[in-house]
């Protein structure tokens, strides 16, 4: 019987819980107040025996809802992991006995704390249902790769090698991308001494002969609708025909464009055909067809070439790049070697600022260049004069003098600009001439690439400088659109070897997304979570806050303006739930109600007891672990505090605050992650949304005639082991100062 719920509580008396607390009272609290139908104590609940006891009750007694009162929900996770039941943890160890001194005068308040956590856990459990997949999904193993350059081709071959069918959508008439026009590439294998063949033709041949890969040339993505596991993609071809594909997950590998140096006065790029970009040099080298490279102006064999590095990069100037390609010096070395190979004893000089040849391969390649008598000059180029010959004027930074050199050909190291479609969240362009120091990344493409049929825009959001990622250190593949992964120079500038590795990683994420979507399991970071948001339609006012505030653009609207959740696009942070003013959005095991019940079932002592209550809503990813670590360090937390972990502070409903204040809580502390440009929120915008909404709490406090300092929002990091408890203790002092809430009765 699916509807038959059976609630069971289990109280661990190990780790000092039994010594510090009255377990009999705890059990009574769970049964009487918490309405657990059965309640058992165990002296070591996490032991195989204790766990077996719970498993037996689930199997034999039909227990569907389990309340475990023991250690933190972060401890013994593997032991307390039961499939097919709703589970909650009352934190009596890290949450109570480890943060309270073991003295007689504290016994009473410590016990009260523990009893409250049990009441809260039981109340939460009562309003939970067992999460199960929605059934909306089915397994679709097709992977779509947008872009047929080295990154896209590699992603396709790698996904296909794992057994997944792939569709490559390529805008041009041929596969190969930039690399198809390259003479050679930077070596990807030891001994890292000479440029190597690009291998592009072999890759194209491998794709042509791979029966799992379908190539759509002269094609673009006209529309992408749906979600991971059920994307419906319309492919438009140049000829006007269109094709509809069912896709499980998407890899965007649309590469880069080279920066156009025309507007940079110093380099005089437009003044002479013999001043070329590094990309153009590849074409000259390829056109030389094994003979000497000739200069474009008159076809003379090049006898001297100057490579000017770092052109328009690392710049604070508007219209230039604030970052660097990172690979420009390796490219220059490779190209200087072309001249050593094809043009006899051609003079090759690389004028650099900081030479960037990192890693083992990079440094080996640099040494190989020195052995080939390529000259490296630390220089700041000040101008290039054109005339009968080119004259590069520069300051030699080692000799500390202004000087110049003549060259037949000058090669400019221009940077790579990501071909990311338009950023859905780009600020509208300011029309007036502002004092804005903010520089804009040069936009190369304003056309949509994915044409997502999403409420929040057509393409992957940018993070910085036009790169389309969201957590580039720990989780580099995470974009803000679930099941769509960026690969190659779209994420950061990179060379072919790195792009190939990157493509394999993106293919990994794509097949994983397809598999998990097929099972209704969440994607990163709540991987495997089966709960998903649903809403009570009759209560919904179509206000659209959830569809607008979802950090992942997961929610669409139907024709009447009701939300459509697309759970395979959802990361389960609950920001939609926090956004909803009418509290109609919920997850099976996490809802406005599950938290509200916890708030309401904490006992509020009468005013004359002089025992305040402080509600703490703590992000479970950072603030809560910080509090756990504080407990391990023996840092004290005020006995009036009651901590409730939340999936993300962005899921905080304003109603929790209002209800808590109305129920007589004396202070409320909200702990979320750092927001802003260097945000640390795992759900990108959750903590920012929370801060924005809580800005309105002042009105609530005012209407209740309460002091504004009763509610505080803090950014708390996982390392705030001393600070997080202090913030709670500070609130206790505040309450001491301003007095108890008048809302106790």
């Amino acid at each position: 019987m699916a509807d038959e719920k059976k609630f069971a509580g289990y109280i661990c008396t190990g780790c000092g819980i039994g010594e510090r607390l009255d377990a009999g009272t705890l059990e009574q609290t769970a049964s009487r107040d918490g309405k657990m139908q059965s309640c058992k104590q165990h002296e070591m609940l996490c032991s195989s025996e204790g766990v077996q006891m719970i498993k037996d009750d689930i199997a034999n007694d039909g227990v569907t809802h389990v309340m475990i009162a023991a250690c933190s929900r972060r401890a013994k996770v593997e032991a307390f992991s039961f499939t097919g039941v709703a589970l909650t943890r009352a934190n009596l160890r890290e949450g109570v006995i480890w943060v309270r001194p073991d003295t007689d005068e504290n016994t009473e308040t410590t016990q009260e704390m523990a009893d409250d956590y049990i009441r809260m856990a039981c109340a939460e459990l009562k309003s939970m249902t067992i999460p199960s997949a929605s059934g909306e999904q089915q397994l679709n193993k097709n992977i779509m790769v947008v872009g047929g350059g080295v990154t896209g081709m590699t992603a396709a071959l790698e996904a296909a090698a794992a057994g997944y069918p792939v569709h490559i959508v390529e805008k041009s008439g041929a596969l190969g991308g930039h690399a198809a026009n390259y003479y050679k590439s930077i070596p990807a294998r030891a001994p890292y001494a000479d440029p190597q063949e690009t291998g592009v033709e072999q890759m194209i041949a491998a794709i042509d002969s791979n029966e799992k890969i379908t190539v759509h040339l002269n094609s673009t993505v006209a529309k992408t609708a749906g979600a991971p596991g059920r994307f419906q993609v319309q492919i438009a071809t140049e000829s006007g025909s269109s094709d509809e594909l069912s896709i499980g997950a998407i890899i965007q590998a649309t590469g880069f464009s080279t920066f156009n140096p025309e507007k940079l006065g110093t380099y005089n790029y437009s003044a002479s055909p013999d001043i070329v970009t590094n990309e153009e040099l590849e074409k000259l080298a390829k056109a030389a067809n094994g003979g000497p490279i000739k200069r474009p102006s008159d076809g003379k064999e090049v006898t001297s070439v100057a490579f000017v590095q770092n052109v328009g990069q690392n710049s604070g100037n508007k219209g230039e790049l604030a970052y660097h390609s990172g690979i420009g010096d390796l490219v220059a070395i490779k190209q200087a070697m072309y001249f050593k190979e094809l043009n006899g004893d051609c003079d090759t000089t690389i004028m650099f600022d900081n030479l960037r040849t990192p890693g083992a391969g990079g440094e080996d390649f640099y040494r190989a260049a020195q052995e080939k008598s390529i000259t490296f000059t630390k220089a700041a180029v000040t101008g290039i004069e054109t005339g009968t010959a080119l004259e590069v004027k520069f300051k030699d930074l080692i000799l500390n003098e202004e000087t110049s050199m003549a060259a037949d050909l000058v090669v400019l190291d221009v940077g790579m600009v990501p071909n990311s479609g338009p950023d859905p969240y780009a600020e509208p362009m300011e029309t007036e001439e502002g004092e804005s120091a903010e520089q804009e990344a040069p936009q190369v493409s304003v056309d949509s690439i994915l044409n997502l049929d999403y409420r929040q825009g057509t393409d992957l959001p940018h993070l910085k400088h036009g790169f389309t990622d969201s957590h580039f250190i720990c989780f580099p593949y995470e974009t803000r659109r679930t099941g769509i992964y960026a690969a190659g120079p779209l994420r950061r500038p990179m060379d072919m070897r790195q792009a190939a590795d990157d493509a394999a990683g993106a293919a990994m994420k794509a097949i994983q997304a397809a598999e998990n979507a097929g099972q209704g399991r969440a994607a990163h970071p709540r991987v495997g979570d089966l709960s998903y948001p649903s809403f009570r339609k009759d209560g919904c006012t179509q206000c659209k806050r959830c569809t607008v505030e979802c950090p992942f653009g997961a929610i669409n609207e139907d024709e009447k303006g009701y939300p459509m959740y697309n759970e395979a696009r959802c990361r389960r942070c609950g920001t939609c739930m926090g956004a909803c003013p009418v509290r109609v959005i919920s997850f099976a095991n996490y809802s406005v109600e599950t938290v509200n019940q916890q708030i309401k079932n904490c006992e509020i002592p009468e005013e004359w007891d002089e025992k305040p209550r402080i509600l703490v809503l703590a992000c479970e990813n950072d603030a809560y672990p910080a509090l756990d670590q504080a407990a391990m360090s023996g840092v004290e937390i005020n006995p009036w505090a009651r901590v409730i972990p939340v999936r993300c502070l962005g899921s905080t409903s304003l109603s929790w605050i209002t209800d808590a204040l109305n129920s007589g809580y004396d202070g409320i502390v909200l702990m979320g992650c750092q927001k802003g440009d260097d945000y640390q929120c795992h759900f990108v915008r959750g903590s920012a949304m929370a801060a924005e909404r809580m800005g309105k709490v002042g009105d609530t406090l005012e209407s209740l005639n309460l002091e504004p300092e009763r509610v505080v929002v803090h950014e708390v990091a996982i390392t705030d082991i001393e600070r997080a408890p202090k913030l709670i203790n500070d609130m206790a002092e505040t309450v001491e100062k301003i007095g108890l809430s008048p809302f106790k009765f």
């Binding site: 190990g14 780790c15 000092g16 070591m44 972060r74 401890a75 992991s81 790698e158 996904a159 090698a161 794992a162 057994g163 990807a188 030891a190 990069q313 690392n314 604070g316 970052y323 660097h324 990172g326 650099f352 900081n354 960037r356 990192p358 083992a360 990079g362 440094e363 080996d364 630390k378 930074l397 500390n400 957590h471 580039f472 250190i473 720990c474 989780f475 580099p476 500038p493 990179m494 790195q498 590795d501 990157d502 493509a503 394999a504 990683g505 990994m508 097949i511 994983q512 598999e515 970071p525 990813n621 950072d622 672990p625 391990m632 360090s633 992650c673 260097d678 640390q680 990091a717 390392t719």
Partner: protein, 431 residues
Amino acid sequence: MTEVIATNQTILVVGGGISGMTAALEAAETGKKVVLVEKRPYVGGRVTQLYKYFPKLCFPTCGLEINQRRAKMNPNLTILTMAEVTGIQGEAGDYTATVKISPRYVNDNCTGCGDCATAVEAEFDNEFNYGLGGVSKRKGAYLPHKMAHPQRYVIDPAIIGTDDAEKAKGACKYNAVDLEMQEETIEFKAGAVVWATGWQPYDANRIQPYGYDRFANVITNVEFERMADPQGPTGGKLLRPSDGKEAKNVAFIQCAGSRDHNHLLHCSRICCMATLKQTHFVQDAWGDEGKSTIYYIDIRAIDRFEDFYQSVKANPNVSFIKSKVASIVENTENGNPVLHGVDTEGYNRYASEYDLVVLAVGMEPSVDKASFPVDIVVNEEGFIEPAPENGGIFAAGCASDALDVNRAVQQATGAALRAIQVVNRVAGTEG
């Protein structure tokens, strides 16, 4: 006896640092069975010892928490700690791994209550803090750090046979302390292997002119990282080891042992960004009184991170000197290290005195190239080459090159796919 259930469709991941964890989790979250073998008593590797990441200046434990939660919740993943792969035989799709497991003397009954640590008296240098200045100690029964996963105590083999060991045993109410535990060697099957044994800091003692072994106030960048961490040996205060004096005037020497024929041939890629980040520690600790001077050959901030370099360069409290420092001597009156060398931009000689010198030592592969327990193609620098000859063994992270965290994670994700390709082929033929 440790039991591991594994088949030719299992993926073995060697090394549980950020790369190994990533590879293991990505594969496990795609439904593959994974066994992760980690030498330390906990996963997370060297990132657990970093205070902040560049360029966001955020905390490594933040991402670690997510990864550890992923690990705790995934039944496809088996983690063996204090374990080392000593041999791999066979071929792609059919490997047999031999794994040596050192005794932890604490079994999985451990609740992490800490009673054993309270009972034990003996103290040892804390390797988690690189034993910084000999001041950082841990007990003979210990949890390596507060976020250690598994959250299970370790008993130092040095106390076995002493009264302390008995005290630990006596203090444990849960029969978790097992003093009879022995080293064991187990064998199991695997279809593919991800090799993610990571890096270690280059031994600074070998750079003789810098006197790391002679001068207390010459430390390494990994030690400085611990010093800046509020959970570290000085509680986050930048105090120099010799006399506990506030270290306000700090020199950073780049390429200490890197890009050098006498030491590491390669560029370790991360040290420039690490130093740029560490100038923030100096700035944050002392404000305008904190001065950082960076001695460098080239500043390699690399691609997207270059804007971080530009922002540090704009800080008037940070100076850059293009120079390979020739030698360090100590001013015996005050313990200050004195740097000697020539500024190559203008060829000026200098003899500059600082409170503290931080050597930006590079990364060398953890496994010596002569002692890989498996036949694998390794380059001159000791990193694993992406060679088809490696069969079903794929390098991830710093076993393949000197990489920062984002590149290591990226590369490990790709390695996971390549391992999956092999086991999927096995599944295709077996299933």
